[in-house]
């Protein structure tokens, strides 16, 4: 599916995006648009290409075809290390916190991207300059930790936190990068119902603050209740896009999920 339109009008736009691994077509000709300040959902059965699509738009895997625009700029060929600086941050399907660092330092790793990681002469010899920059980064990290409600555990080793808390540390690290687009890859996987609700409320509050969030989820009831727009992927193709409730009633989507059309209410 390919969406056309003015690239400058959308925050993110992909056009004919494809990713192949050898002979395997993981993402096939996907075109979608994300507008600023909205909460988007991306669903699909296991192996449908959701995470690969996220990896492609965050440039962690190379694309084989297609174009990607962010904020009107073509970023299809930029380095993966520059994606953070243009305003895209992400979390991963599996928790990827650094246990060598405490919670605050994990979040600072994200905030460093905002600060630009300067290494000028002043930084090498001027301890005061280094301290000033560190204080700025610490401020961004503290703000992000407060946002996810983890200020009290800032000095803790991440491995000593509950699974749900570790997930929130990852989100804090991503939002410390001050992104315009936040990609959350199955942020509630393996969580209890109450922990899921906390993450969903957090996603909604981030969107209320002006951020665009693209949420990959398996819990259809939850994602259709909070997202403003839903994309469905199946065998690497984006087979549906639109209002979540309407999308879930589409025969193609039902076919992809349960093998036949049914009167499904989510």
């Amino acid at each position: 599916m390919t969406t056309t339109g003015d690239p400058a009008g959308a925050l993110l736009r992909t056009d004919g995006l494809s990713v192949t691994f050898g002979g395997v077509k993981a993402v096939v000709d996907v075109g979608l648009e994300l507008e600023p300040g909205r909460l988007y959902g991306l669903v699909g059965p296991n192996g449908s290409g959701k995470t690969t699509f996220l990896n492609a738009i965050s440039r962690l895997v190379p694309t084989s075809h297609g174009t990607m625009w962010f904020n009107g700029q073509d970023y299809t060929r930029i380095s993966d290390t520059k994606v953070a600086s243009i305003g895209i941050s992400r979390t991963f399907q599996n928790i990827r916190l650094l246990n060598l660092l405490n919670v605050e330092d994990n979040v600072k790793l994200g905030a460093d991207a905002v600060n630009g990681r300067k290494r000028n002469l002043d930084w090498w010899i001027g301890r005061r300059a280094a301290r000033r920059e560190e204080a700025y980064v610490a401020g961004l990290a503290a703000e992000a930790l407060e946002r996810v409600g983890l200020t009290a555990v800032a000095k803790r080793d991440p491995s000593t936190l509950s699974y749900g808390m570790q997930r929130r540390v990852e989100i804090a690290r991503a939002i410390a990068m001050k992104p315009r687009l936040l990609l959350l890859d199955e942020p509630t996987a393996g969580m209890r119902e109450d922990e899921r609700s906390e993450i969903m409320e957090l996603s909604q509050s981030l969107v209320a603050g002006g951020m665009t969030v693209l949420l990959v989820e398996h819990n259809l009831r939850m994602i259709t209740s909070i997202c403003q727009h839903l994309f469905v992927m199946y065998f690497g193709n984006c087979i549906a896009s639109g209002d979540p409730q309407e999308v879930m009633r589409m025969p193609d989507v039902q076919q992809a999920y349960i093998g036949h059309s049914a009167d499904v209410t989510v």
Binding site: R90, L98, D112, R117
Partner: protein, 294 residues
């Protein structure tokens, strides 16, 4: 105090040179770059320094020259080795380290062949060496803290994560190569100036093992670990003189025990001890709080 210093001056000098050597390995290991090339630069630095001192070059010129040249060559090394990781990188840099003594043995009059270069004029004092080591530690501590410290640990633990956080992975790896090579070269140059003799046997496999022992047993996450490691490998064998011919065996056992029980080095063990004493229970999540009857 003065008596103690004069009795142990050689050991103190050796410790200080080893601190630099251990840091040179630690700088790369901390970034997850398993490069042993700094040992090769140590050997090259020691020979360059020996030759130049014998030609009456002043140490104030030799040292910056060796550091700069080693750093530049080390940076250049980063390019062909950029795609190698883990053991493959270790093997490639090990080959570099082992080729250098062979070249030096066949270097003719310039390198002194298998005998090496002797009777090098004493070109540096222990005080100057101490100042150099302190300056290096200050610079390295700057690398370990702040964003560079976090970025290097991210590089070591999860390269993809580091990339998504905007860490310029390739550039940081090149820089780690360059700093490691520069410090290896510096340690070698100082060693030649202090101990007044260099030979092809000074480098090679024995020094690689020693360097890795210092960096790993002390703790690879901070320069403090390098200092601990250098102190350990220099002084513990001296303390073990009372066991006579079994000295090497006992020292080996001490190292095995440290590696088995403290896999993140002695510094890591001390840190964990402090962290355990400070640890408090995590506050409950909102749902857990709500579940508690008031």
């Amino acid at each position: 105090m003065f008596q103690y210093f004069s009795d142990n001056e050689v050991l103190i000098q050796q410790t200080l040179v080893y601190v630099l050597l251990a840091i040179s390995l630690q700088v790369v290991l901390r970034c997850g770059v398993v490069s042993l090339a700094s040992i090769g630069f140590y050997t090259l630095g020691s020979y360059a320094s020996a030759i130049l001192v014998k030609h009456d070059w002043p140490p104030v010129l030799i040292l910056p020259l060796v550091v700069l040249a080693s750093g530049l060559v080390g940076y250049g090394f980063g390019k062909p080795l950029a795609r190698l990781r883990g053991l493959y990188l270790a093997m490639a840099t090990l080959a570099f380290d082992l080729v250098i003594p062979v070249l030096l043995i066949n270097g003719g009059d310039l390198t002194g062949g298998a005998l090496g270069i002797y009777a090098i004029p004493l070109a540096i004092t222990t005080g100057s060496l101490f100042v150099i080591v302190v300056v290096v530690i200050l610079a390295v501590s700057q690398i370990e803290r702040g964003w560079m410290g976090r970025a290097s640990l991210a590089l070591r633990s999860d390269e993809n994560l580091a990339r998504s956080m905007g860490v310029r992975v390739t550039r940081e790896r090149y820089l780690a190569f360059a700093i490691s090579a520069a410090l290896g070269g510096l340690a070698g140059a100082l060693s030649a100036m202090l101990f007044r003799a260099v030979s092809p046997g000074n480098g090679g496999f024995a020094l690689i093992t020693l360097g890795l022992t210092m960096a790993i047993v002390g703790g690879r996450d901070s320069w403090v670990g390098a200092v601990i490691g250098a102190y350990l490998v220099t002084w513990v064998p001296e303390w073990l003189r009372f066991v006579g011919p079994y000295r090497a065996l006992v020292f080996g056992l001490v190292l095995v025990v440290v590696i088995l029980f403290f896999p993140d080095g002695l510094l890591g063990a001390v840190r964990r001890l402090f962290a355990r004493s400070r640890r408090k229970p995590a506050p409950a999540t909102r749902s857990e709080r709500e579940a508690v009857p008031v």
